[in-house]
Symmetry: C2
Subunit: 319 residues, 2 copies
């Protein structure tokens, strides 16, 4: 499969690399690394994400240099589209409008990927999409420098929760060692992502802890961030911190959920499990998707209590 | 150096392995791994730490099996003492009383090590003592199983802040990959250490955040945990959570300090820096020690405000 991808890349002059909407660290790392790597072997490349870059990821020069908005994609010709980390066409936003005129390669690690490209390289065992990009760039003999190594490591670090989640297999460590040897600056990544919390976020956290509720003998923990809470501290919705990990970290909690309000009548629900519970089943039931231990969905409602009750009931039957 | 150590081990029948007081994850991992590894090659081994094991590390069967108290050390003969992770003799508690009758090997990664053994293998570039133990056991051709691999990885994980601190070099990742390949269960480590927070700790955290103060344009952040705060939530002093990392993670903070009350008139002060500040200088000035980005000291006073002022003044001159 990777050989086919290499051939397609070699035969293309201009390439569009796209990631998914609501981009996370792995997505931005994968798009940026692919753009930088392909540029190093002489391709004309445009990186595109049809959404805003969250504040916590905006401190990386390489991302700001390589990732453009949809208009830029529309106006740039490309022989080939490479999609990274997006499990379905609707996840790439308006970039899907360009699909019918181009060859499309999909590179992803979500088991739920719909294989919507002409070539689909989907590796669910891979902890991050960034590692698949690393494989491609290694195969293309791209020479890594500090900037590329750092931005490639970013995706591995963030999608493994900085080497903590259960997807952290020995390949994760081997790839991280490779990139650190190539000059990757892990300190820059941790300082930007983990050690750069606005003080307002910690104030918001106090409120989230006040709202925290437990059910089923503390096996389920959940809380909410409302628009009102965000306004109180001047935090933008897209910058809502991922408190769901803090909830999961509590003793006895198997499933943690954050109900993050996105609009007056819409919520983004983020779920994590600790050991055995499959939160992707819950996500799929409510119209979303994800992995066994990390999944989510969006839901339109102006009655959050009702939604919480629905979700709790659904989970309670399995807990 | 390691060859000499291997020779001493080969020539000894009974071995005492000791770690430092106020043991952390790396210390307990190093002692336990060394004990288990040496037992696998047929030595009679006793592991000793002259202090209590903190609650957050008590969930590891291997530690409870291998680490005994001082009486056990006193009553067991040993041809050889191996000290791990302890930079000075007073750090091993009463175990130092046994030194004059035995050969002593010191294996450590603290640059401040006093070289107080007959053989001293001190490698400041090593992120953890557990990695030096791994080197020794590899050299002895010890066969790793899941239990040994997991307990050996524990020290690497905890002393690098789970692969986040600036000491996380490519050797850290290579060693982690090796141990995961040998069956190390990283998930067990993260679940035990990071995902097992008593709910009371998060309540205490809210209080710590209330007490938090900033100085020098937010470059210094500090807070305190008093015995009264611990009592309020029924938390034992030895189980005081390491909030200093939470303080350092805030935007703009270069130095973070926690003043943890140990007795009515004694405090344990824990310091972390983010990028450039050397907190070990501060620690040494006040009678303690440590690394550039993580150091600490103990201080006898019944006036914590006065101590805070002293420390702030000392730091302020350098910030």
């Amino acid at each position: 499969m990777i050989k086919e991808i290499i051939n397609e890349i070699k035969n293309a002059d201009t390439i569009l690399v796209a990631g998914h909407i609501m981009p996370d660290g792995d997505d931005l790392s994968s798009v940026t690394s692919m753009v930088m790597g392909l540029e190093k072997i002489g391709k004309k490349v445009v990186g595109v994400i049809d959404d805003e870059i969250p504040e916590y990821l905006s401190g990386f020069e390489a991302i700001n240099k390589c990732v453009r908005d949809f208009d830029c994609a529309k106006n740039n010709p490309a022989d080939l589209i490479i999609i990274v980390d997006a499990s379905s066409p609707d996840r790439v936003g308006r970039v899907q409008d360009l699909f019918e005129y181009k060859r499309v390669i999909v590179i992803d690690h979500h088991a739920t990927n719909l294989n919507y490209g002409n070539i689909n390289w989907v590796v669910p065992e891979s902890a991050s999409a960034a590692q698949l990009v690393l494989e491609v760039l290694k195969e293309l003999n791209v020479e890594y420098d500090e900037e590329l190594a750092t931005i490639n490591l970013l995706g591995i670090a963030t999608d493994t929760g900085f080497f903590k989640y259960s997807n952290t297999n020995s390949k994760v460590f081997t790839d991280a060692a490779y990139l650190v040897d190539k000059g990757a600056n892990l300190n820059k990544i941790t300082n930007q992502i983990l050690e750069n919390k606005p003080i307002e976020h910690i104030k918001l956290m106090k409120d989230v802890l006040e709202e925290m509720r437990f059910e089923f003998d503390n096996k389920l923990a959940y809380s909410t961030v409302s628009l009102e809470m965000l306004n109180k501290y001047g935090i933008e919705q897209k910058d809502t911190p991922p408190f769901v990990g803090d909830l999961r970290s509590l003793r006895g909690v198997e499933v943690a959920i954050m109900y993050n309000q996105a609009k007056d009548n819409e919520y983004h629900i983020s779920m994590r499990s600790k050991s055995w519970f499959d939160v992707s089943e819950v996500a799929v039931h409510f119209g979303g998707g994800g992995h066994k231990k990390a999944a989510g969905f969006s839901y339109k409602t102006d009655n959050i209590e009702e939604l919480m009750k629905k979700v709790s009931n659904f989970i309670g039957e399995k807990l």
